[in-house]
């Protein structure tokens, strides 16, 4: 209930107001997408913030309008984030939930990949270190004449 109060307005003034708000947000998405194509600069729109500042703004209606495209992803840990590429490539919908599963906010991100999904170099380097450390502690498996390499690797995995 709390997130409904915080995110959605308690009323939708009229269909006309809702349509006007939706149009304004779509125009902003269009501007950010054009800018991304021209300059590579990503953009973001906080739908919670838009609900606050635009009379009649209805996130559910906008989300339905944008639709779901080819890509979906879920990011876990410390709550979760559901990521959906809309039917407009490069326009992503990110829904943020807290650890109790309550919706906290929704954002539209414009770009090739949402920044939250992209792996950071420091994290990749951390992964490399961990993989090397694990490999260093595992016994080396030497090929033998009577068993093919692929079979030996499968055995090591098990």
């Amino acid at each position: 209930m709390r997130h409904e109060l915080a995110i959605g307005r308690l009323r939708v003034d009229s269909a006309e107001e809702a349509a006007r708000s939706e149009q304004a947000i779509l125009a902003e998405i269009e501007r950010l997408l054009a800018r991304f194509l021209a300059t590579g600069e990503p953009g973001a729109i906080d739908l919670r913030h838009e609900s606050r500042r635009r009379a009649g703004a209805d996130p559910a209606r906008l989300i339905e309008r944008l639709g779901s495209g080819e890509v979906t992803a879920t990011i876990g840990g410390f709550g979760r984030v559901e990521v959906v590429e809309t039917t407009y490539a490069g326009v992503w919908l990110l829904s943020y939930f807290d650890a109790a599963g309550e919706l906290e906010t929704r954002q539209i991100e414009i770009g090739a990949v949402p920044s939250l999904i992209a792996a950071q170099r420091d994290d990749a380097r951390r992964g490399l270190l961990r993989l090397r450390a694990e490999l260093a502690t595992e016994p080396e498996i030497r090929p033998t004449a009577d068993r093919p390499t692929t079979t030996r690797l499968e055995g090591a995995d098990a």
């Binding site: 307005r9 807290d98 450390a133």
Partner: protein, 335 residues
């Protein structure tokens, strides 16, 4: 982080990220929060504070680096502003943002007292000259020799000027600090004025309200923390981010303001059904604040939602507006 033959277990843990010692980020990383988890948190934090979309990564960076200093000083006040800020509800975004700062002086809560407390404040101001944030609540008796408000042998005017001299900027928290507030109400026996009246040449941000919404106070600090600049201010030095609209214009009861029927008595069927409280003296049409959008207690509710009209506490001279339950006269507001 460098690749080394010596294995550092912390450096190769599946979660965690680099953050400076003592920062909020370091604490969260120590709890096993991943970089994505931290970024997710900062994005929702920015959203909760009504900061612009895309500020999550900037906030994340700010929360993983060194903590700026805050000197918090109280003058003619009731401590309600500080209560609102730090004691609203357990561990929240407000307390988290405050932990992103080093609060070097806050006489209401600090353990030190007397000369030791004053020495700590002087040391913090000297060590962070030009960089610390001065947060002030309470009004200031304009006449330094009036005898009203003397602390550590100094008048309020002397203390405020001294503390503001080397501050990066000043945040006037609450209606008393922003406009004089209750002490400034007629007949204003102490000659109380706003902080900005004493510091005409200093950058002062007013965060009015009696008390102000906790998220608004911390939102202003978070904005500066993340963007290293101050939010846009209106002619009364209030951040338009939070004070750009009236409580009325964003109120869910507003739709019955013109067409009616309005509520005629407290707690009646119309009041419970969400009809407009204007006839009961609601000051929402002339009050600029974020109560009807951010709401209070983690977005749970606000006075109008509880059936009581806005009393206009975030506006100058609200105590002298003519009675909390008096209807606003026609022509006194735009709709």
């Amino acid at each position: 982080m460098t690749l080394s033959p010596t294995i550092d277990r912390a450096a190769i843990a599946p979660t965690g990220f680099d953050a400076e010692p003592g920062s909020v980020g370091e604490r969260l990383a120590g709890l096993g929060v991943s970089r994505r988890g931290f970024l997710r948190f900062c994005t929702t934090l920015a959203s909760s504070l009504a900061l612009e979309a895309g500020m999550g990564p900037q906030l994340a960076h700010a929360l993983t680096t060194a903590r700026p200093s805050i000197v918090y000083m109280s003058f003619q006040e009731c401590t309600g502003c500080l209560e609102s800020l730090v004691n609203s509800y357990g561990v929240t975004i407000e307390t988290l943002i405050l932990q992103a700062f080093s609060i070097d002086y806050l006489e209401t809560l600090q353990a030190a007292a007397g000369a030791r407390a004053e020495a700590a404040r002087e040391a913090a101001m000297a060590a962070n000259a030009g960089k610390y944030v001065l947060v002030v609540d309470g009004s200031i008796p304009k006449n330094a020799n009036s005898g009203f408000f003397v602390s550590a042998g100094e008048s309020a005017v002397e203390r405020l000027k001294h503390a503001a001299d080397r501050a990066a900027f000043v945040v006037a928290v609450g209606t008393c600090a922003a406009y004089g507030g209750l002490a400034h109400a007629r007949p204003n026996p102490t000659g109380a004025v706003a902080v900005s009246d004493i510091l005409p040449n200093k950058t002062v941000i007013n965060v009015p309200g009696c008390p102000p919404i906790a998220e608004v106070v911390t939102g202003v600090l978070a904005y500066w923390l993340a963007k290293k600049t101050l939010p846009a201010l209106d002619s009364l030095k209030r951040p338009t981010l939070y004070y750009g609209h009236t409580v009325h214009s964003e109120c869910y009861r507003e739709e019955t303001f013109e067409d009616g029927p309005r509520t005629k008595s407290f707690g009646d069927a119309r009041a419970r059904a969400g009809h407009c409280l204007f006839d009961l003296g609601c000051k929402g049409p002339v009050t600029h604040n974020a109560c009807s959008t951010l709401r209070w207690n983690q977005g749970t509710s606000f006075p109008i939602q509880s059936g009581h009209g806005c009393i206009g506490c975030a506006e100058p001279d609200f105590w002298d507006m003519g009675g909390l339950y008096a209807r606003l006269p026609p022509g006194s507001f735009d709709d």
